[in-house]
Subunit: 277 residues, 3 copies
Amino acid sequence: MARKPIITLITDFDTVDHFVGTIKGVIYGINPDVEIVDISHKVASYDIFDGAFTLAQSYRFFPADTIHLVVVDPGVGTSRRPLLARSMNYKFVAPDNGVLSLIYEREENVEVRHITSDHYFLNPVSATFQGRDVFAPVAAWLSKWVEVDKFGDPITDYTKFTSPRPKKVGDNLIKGVILKIDKFGNIITNLLPEDLPQLFAENPPPFKIIINQQEITKLNLAYSMGKPSELFAIVGSNGYLEVCTNRGSAAKILNVNRGVEVGVMLGTPSPAVPESA
Amino acid sequence: MARKPIITLITDFDTVDHFVGTIKGVIYGINPDVEIVDISHKVASYDIFDGAFTLAQSYRFFPADTIHLVVVDPGVGTSRRPLLARSMNYKFVAPDNGVLSLIYEREENVEVRHITSDHYFLNPVSATFQGRDVFAPVAAWLSKWVEVDKFGDPITDYTKFTSPRPKKVGDNLIKGVILKIDKFGNIITNLLPEDLPQLFAENPPPFKIIINQQEITKLNLAYSMGKPSELFAIVGSNGYLEVCTNRGSAAKILNVNRGVEVGVMLGTPSPAVPESA
Amino acid sequence: MARKPIITLITDFDTVDHFVGTIKGVIYGINPDVEIVDISHKVASYDIFDGAFTLAQSYRFFPADTIHLVVVDPGVGTSRRPLLARSMNYKFVAPDNGVLSLIYEREENVEVRHITSDHYFLNPVSATFQGRDVFAPVAAWLSKWVEVDKFGDPITDYTKFTSPRPKKVGDNLIKGVILKIDKFGNIITNLLPEDLPQLFAENPPPFKIIINQQEITKLNLAYSMGKPSELFAIVGSNGYLEVCTNRGSAAKILNVNRGVEVGVMLGTPSPAVPESA
């Protein structure tokens, strides 16, 4: 293979301490001919869903054969298993705590293995930094094209959560949830255009997005189309409906965070204009 | 060309989300043999001048043929044009919003093109993340030595602001402005030694730098030459006059930020010693 | 040498400004075939011990011949000397302010040179950014296998501090100190298992760790074994005794920072059971 293999890193380690650098040292010590790419080290501490979502937003933009290493690992040092998952195009190395759940949802035919071959580890393995001692070395050996079956046997009882899906509540109301607040304060919901096809039809009905008792009634095509402090919806770069404001933080204006409910009412009849009139 | 091409990144994306990692995935997918270097992802959000200044401070320290990718793009999704600029030694890829203004000032014979060849883009192009869909792929193809004229035609009506220059107000007063507060709290002004040659002459006159009604009257050769909490001036690493304090934040002491006026009075006569005496 | 040389970076520059990117530009300009790895740019500003400790925690996880560049340099622009140190496996480039002290302690036969060959510098050398003008170019030339004796002569009077060691106070009390609070709020002390062998024996005596007048009496094998808000001790990934809590910040609970005393009392006799009884 002429192409240099890529290992990406997603962790909740932040970049203040030596952790990320040390992991890279371990990887380069095993495979000097690898490209290491930071996706994010600012996953919220211990937050498995945030790690899973960060991975889901980015993994498919990497070339085939990329190895995605995800270390959000509040159970480090316990018997939670280290996993190696493989889909058609990618490999994933992560603890068995659900952080690969969105991969199991999105990729077909994912084969998951329990990594047991501890001769690939940095021994003695510490109880507190297995990103360094277990996950990084396994990713590095994988990047040297060691066969996946050398690391351990397939399992099917791995931990998996189901990502929250919007719910229809009657004909005109759909309820979703905030998945993430991004750096700019944009509110990423779990609503996809396919959940709200009417909104994207030729003559969309009036609608209300309700978050924290406030109503958003406008859909824009670009962030900068909004007036100052005006809240509006937009379809984000991964397809999710976002609520945002031009050059400001929608999350601050609405005072919301991840997990808050997002309601969408379609075709709201105006009570001031009775139909019989 | 034996040398691996370099693409640098300047954005206001921060490193909390997946954005920067995703951009790198897209680049490596197109050109696995490129070196990607982060300059800063902490440009103030939507702040075109801050992006321009970050680029101006760093671009010329990179080897010839480096491609500088600048994505500070509050107008993403609108009709603002994506640009490819080329000077003798560097290429620049950025939105047409003025973020390359300091390059137009400093580099000679900059050729600017409107990028229109959308077969180089990641299609379908999103309305909210054209760093991923437009700018990164163009930079990646450029790093594979695709000719600049393949991307679009030259234009001359690109957006350009003029960087603020100090003004002489009478013989002994010059007025400048704060361009940036750096990480340490050092205050970077737009005053260059050539604006204040007397200060750097063999027998410099007394002087006063006035910021937020406070006076700085000392010029030091090194940060550590100041006494605790003492404010003094120094010539910074890009030639600008800075106001700083030893191991502390001058910006906090003076309670100032970018854009605040900086006055310099030269040869201030001492009112206590009348000339006729 | 087939292996690409590695230069690691430890600084207090943060990643907000252009500083780190500029340093990388300078390095790639001299040696395009080098791997640059960030260890941390968030060393506390001007904090030589924090830089030394970050280096000590990470340097040995890198492959042999790695060049570690450490720029925590409050004396930049003064006559403090730039140093090149070499141990059996590594090279270090740093200012002579003690930031290599833990290397002098841990590595055998460290040879330290005063870098004086200014033709390797980026001239003219600025007074405020010698990371760019002195340290980065020297590291880059070293990565091209320029012999260390080309940079300057050996010295023995370099600055060195002694890292704080625990003290025995009577038979059952040992006093240490907090070396670092990590990103998660874990409290890293300077106590090693060899300072407290009884604690790690087959039948360990009861013990009390006393920090800021609070007592910790439990030792766990993994972070997640603690109950919510419970404080406990653990042996960290570099061997130091840490005080932590499950999914939370022990440092916040105890309201402590670096430098605070840590007492350990072993085999505390229960006062309620008089020995003569």
